[in-house]
Assembly symmetry: C2
Homo-oligomer: 603 residues x 2
């Protein structure tokens, strides 16, 4: 029989995946939609590349949340499907995978599902496309292969069949015997995968995945309250079996562990810590670099002006609106981060963050009580006494009181450059994305939560072409401080990804234009991404063309809209321009795979 | 309240763990038994070290499978407990953790459990020790904290209390409210841990942990048979979401993927491959080294004689009994393996294995059909035509016909050295332990199973002080060929551990003595290990003293007994001397943590 492999099974760019599949002797591929969206190749080019390699495109996947929905939603789904069938014709792919819906809009109504799938198949037939309907093991109403088949049978459409996936069937413990009752020609596709069994029992969970209190999902504080009420007065002891901690350096893990107990004790009313002092904004981001030229020309193109210099150190202040960036060329400040393999990493990096604090001394006191190293001030006698602590990843966090009477002001250490004024245009730092070392991701989240009083959002997985990333943002309730923390899927990845500074602007299109006119280069985004945007959303005339021209990415949530674009990377830092409208709360995570693929693409 | 941390929560040697705990400000520690067994420090020295660091030893753990067992078993348990209480007196630890039994010998009899725990507490009291009984979430009959407490209450012994562990309580979804009904003074200890929730749902399982067919636990072949009977004739397509494959180089992953389909097709009777040719023994192990001296003096001390040299290459043959080792100083043969961080690794390494094959040509044909690269022969015209294929990790597998008429014999390429005979004493290669690169462990198992027709044993986790290892042996049914494959818990670990050659001898004590008398150095094993052996097993007079003197490790299974010891490491290779008696089937995995800790210990 012919053999095929889904592109999602392999690492790298779409081109690398196709080459690897062909060299290993596969006859065809399934193209995973995200791999196409992130590819700079046009669909026709992908088709030609496959033909050259002797590969057929056996499946395009996946189409989601199509069936058993209200009429207006289904109309939108058909519009989206039409765009995808057009794309499949360009690709030369004749079968599309439709997964059973997980949408809350889907009704538990097999007749409606069959009717809408038949209408989808009608449309597909016009394009010479076959629709293969598959039961996801976690489908909302349809989660077993025999159920999916009953719906396909009821629809009775020649262009509609079923797709069987060994994972979805066997992971549910379904008996595969009844597959024999399905006519072979109605099995449009077969996907094969194995998986370890059992995936995770309580023993494995216990032995490999425990965390320190506050780093998981248990209500450990609630349990502790009951134990205290019982009258227990022995030690609070941590017993944490964890594969990662087994490898991590013992010293930082022990500090992490004790901080978790301090937070837990505070939570249940045992022992008093200095109260949290929540920061009210970002005072500055500090870049350390051995060569200021590349980063200062980038800042120039971004509309920053060099407004001041430190009176005693090789540090310059660059400003635009309320955004401030320090550029430090002092060699003593240059951190030597090490990758998993022990290679020292140099180049421009985001090494320190200044946070506006209503009470810098109080904030530093809490940090110190929670075992954050207080950094030596290394300052001249006349400098403002700036409090700073080290985050677990070594980033210096300065606790600042900018332009506030009666508090020492770091700005006073800088001498204004004559005749320069920063543009006053409402630009500010929206967020600072800080990649974390592999071993201490959960520690970093707990640190920012407990020490700085920030709230942690849900953790999200982001697919980089060369591995999964995990990202979790910490922020203040009003969004004045937002810090997404990101970590790779394995050690060694901790330095594979640059950090970045996102600048909020009221008009990202204008800001992007000004940047390119000033000689800046925005990260190019593949055309396939915009074709998909067009299938998903409706835009005003010319709007999408503008995004496509500039490389602006787009997302919506329940609150509003997010538009964003990226500069090229300098050393280990890049910038993002963002426009948040209508209370959008996220960071465009849905676009991250496309952005990451573009950053990996050869220039 | 006082704070404490279990040594199992931290990485490294016991000394490193204690130091880290003290520096982070913990008041005490729980000492995990395996950490003590692997430590060169005597219990009194551990006690003194803790005192110097300002740490108390709050708990010794764990004691397992004590209660609700038949009388003779309980007598053995009391004997073991007496030894541990003596040890605890030496340590200065006054509380011991007893986990609810998981033994098949345990009866579902709370009264018996209470009675036996009370007798244990009687004994403990004589030593000034308290017993804290804890319900493991996966205990055989006792798995909830309230059940454990009812048994403790029924026992009514002052030296018996309960230990609460937030993981075991919350992972089962138990309501912690009833903890308040336990008198505080009967809660002898509290262990805290958090964990991510949900541990693993089917969505996570599907998105992160799929494998290629034959690399997991599903009956994918069974499913495929049903699909074929239904009349399906489309492609067999692999859709595998896997975090590791997302990072691994696409080329080898694609080959791995297609091999899995070839094996699957053979299994269901689609497509014919050349039949497997199971090897019948190990012809030789080949060490490649830039400097032969250290390894040949080790071989000399092990009783090997240099018997021959290759007629055209810088390769020597060393023999003892039926064990043959080639020492290759040819620079072309020196592999440059790379660690995760990209650092080339040099030094002596186990680079090739000769396997006795009843049909070397047939075996090579199957290997080639299953996409194993056939290695270029690079030989002189007069050399025997030796077939060789590369395993996924790059190890060359030579398919040999030693001393068999009508088949080309590699031995014929070697010229005997005059006047040298190898000792004829029944020594043979018992097993070859091959560490694997991180990305392709499951691939390696499938390769050895499918290509060589070996059987795969269960996978076992082994705790190295600096991370968990996973080990899975492949072997012939008769044990003539045994290859444990081992991989670290993270990339970069692939080169952290040396490979080794285990030599089977009928008398390991004599072999060990001869080795040390010849100037060899055996790996020193901590005295704590032998104290524990004495608590677990009964030995003949002087037997244990001999093991202790030489550093011989001991294990038993249902079939027989295993005794083994290790040489020091040369480059990236060491040797093991083993004695298998009574059909023992394993590799002494229970002793691996002690051996690994000893290998990490500073010399």
């Amino acid at each position: 029989m012919r053999t095929s492999i889904a592109t999602v099974s392999l690492s790298g760019s779409l081109t690398e995946k196709l080459t690897a599949a062909a060299r290993a002797g596969f006859d065809g591929v399934e193209i995973f939609e995200n791999d196409l969206l992130a590819s700079p190749l046009a669909p026709e080019e992908v088709r030609a590349r496959c033909a050259d390699l002797g590969l057929t495109i056996d499946l395009y996947q996946p189409m989601r949340d199509i069936e058993a929905v209200p009429a207006d939603e289904f109309a939108r789904n058909l519009r989206r499907a039409r765009a995808k069938f057009t794309l499949m014709n360009r690709l030369g792919a004749d079968t599309v995978l439709v997964c059973s819906s997980v949408s809350p809009l889907a009704a538990d109504d097999d007749a409606l599902a069959a009717e809408q799938l038949a209408r989808l198949a009608d449309l597909a037939q016009d394009f010479g496309v076959r629709v293969a309907y598959e039961a996801l093991a976690w489908g909302r109403h349809v989660s077993t292969y025999d159920h999916a088949w009953r719906i396909v049978e009821a629809a009775g459409h020649p262009a509609l069949g079923t797709c069987l996936d060994s994972f979805h069937i066997l992971s549910r413990g379904s008996d595969p015997k009844s597959i024999e009752d399905i006519p072979g020609e109605k099995i449009f596709f077969l996907q094969l995968a194995d998986a370890p069994l059992p995936a995770m029992d309580v023993l494995q969970w216990s032995r490999h995945h425990r965390r320190f209190p506050g780093q998981g999902g248990f209500d450990v504080a609630g349990l502790l309250r009951h134990v205290l009420r019982a009258g227990y007065d022995g030690p609070l002891s941590l017993e944490v079996f964890n594969d990662v901690f087994r490898q991590a350096e013992a010293g930082p893990t022990a500090v992490d562990a004790r901080r978790s107990l301090l937070v837990l004790q505070e939570e249940v009313g045992l022992g008093a810590l200095p109260a949290p002092v929540v920061p009210t904004g970002v005072a500055f981001a500090e870049l350390v670099t051995p060569d200021a030229e590349p980063v200062t020309s980038l800042l120039g193109a971004l509309g920053f002006a060099r407004t001041a210099r430190h009176r005693g150190k090789p540090v310059e202040l660059w400003e635009r609106g309320e955004a401030r960036v320090l550029v430090n060329t002092g060699s003593a400040a240059l951190p030597r981060r090490r990758s998993g393999g022990g290679t020292p990493v140099d180049g421009t990096c985001l090494a320190a963050v200044g946070l506006e604090s209503p009470d810098p001394v109080g904030a530093a006191r809490r940090a110190e009580a929670l075992l954050a190293p207080v950094l030596p001030r290394r300052r001249a006698a006349e400098d403002a006494p700036l409090d700073a602590v080290a985050a677990p990843d070594g980033t210096a966090l300065f606790l600042c009181a900018t332009n506030r009477p009666r508090l020492p002001d770091w700005r006073g250490d800088f001498v204004d450059l004559p005749g320069v004024t920063a543009p006053r245009d409402g630009v500010r730092i929206d967020h600072l994305s800080l990649t974390q070392p592999w071993h201490h991701f959960d520690e970093a989240v707990l640190f920012h939560r407990a020490v700085l009083g920030l709230d942690a959002q849900e953790s999200v997985d982001v697919a980089d072409p060369y591995g999964l990333l995990r990202s979790r943002a910490v922020s203040t309730a009003d969004g004045a401080v937002r810090i997404p923390l990101t970590v790779g899927a394995a050690p060694g990845d901790d330095t594979a990804h640059a950090r970045h500074i996102a600048l909020a602007t009221p008009d990202v299109v204008a800001a992007a234009r000004r940047f390119t006119e000033a000689g800046g280069h925005l990260l190019p985004i593949p055309a396939n991404y915009y074709d998909d945007l067009a299938a998903r959303h409706e835009f005003a005339d010319g709007e999408l063309a503008t995004y496509r021209e500039l490389g602006i990415l787009y997302d919506r949530d329940a609150h509003g809209v997010f538009r964003h674009c990226y500069t090229r990377t300098v050393g280990r830092v890049f910038f993002e321009l963002v426009q948040r409208d209508g209370g959008y709360q996220g960071y465009g995570a849905v676009n991250a795979p496309v952005r990451l693929a573009a950053q990996h693409a050869p220039r």
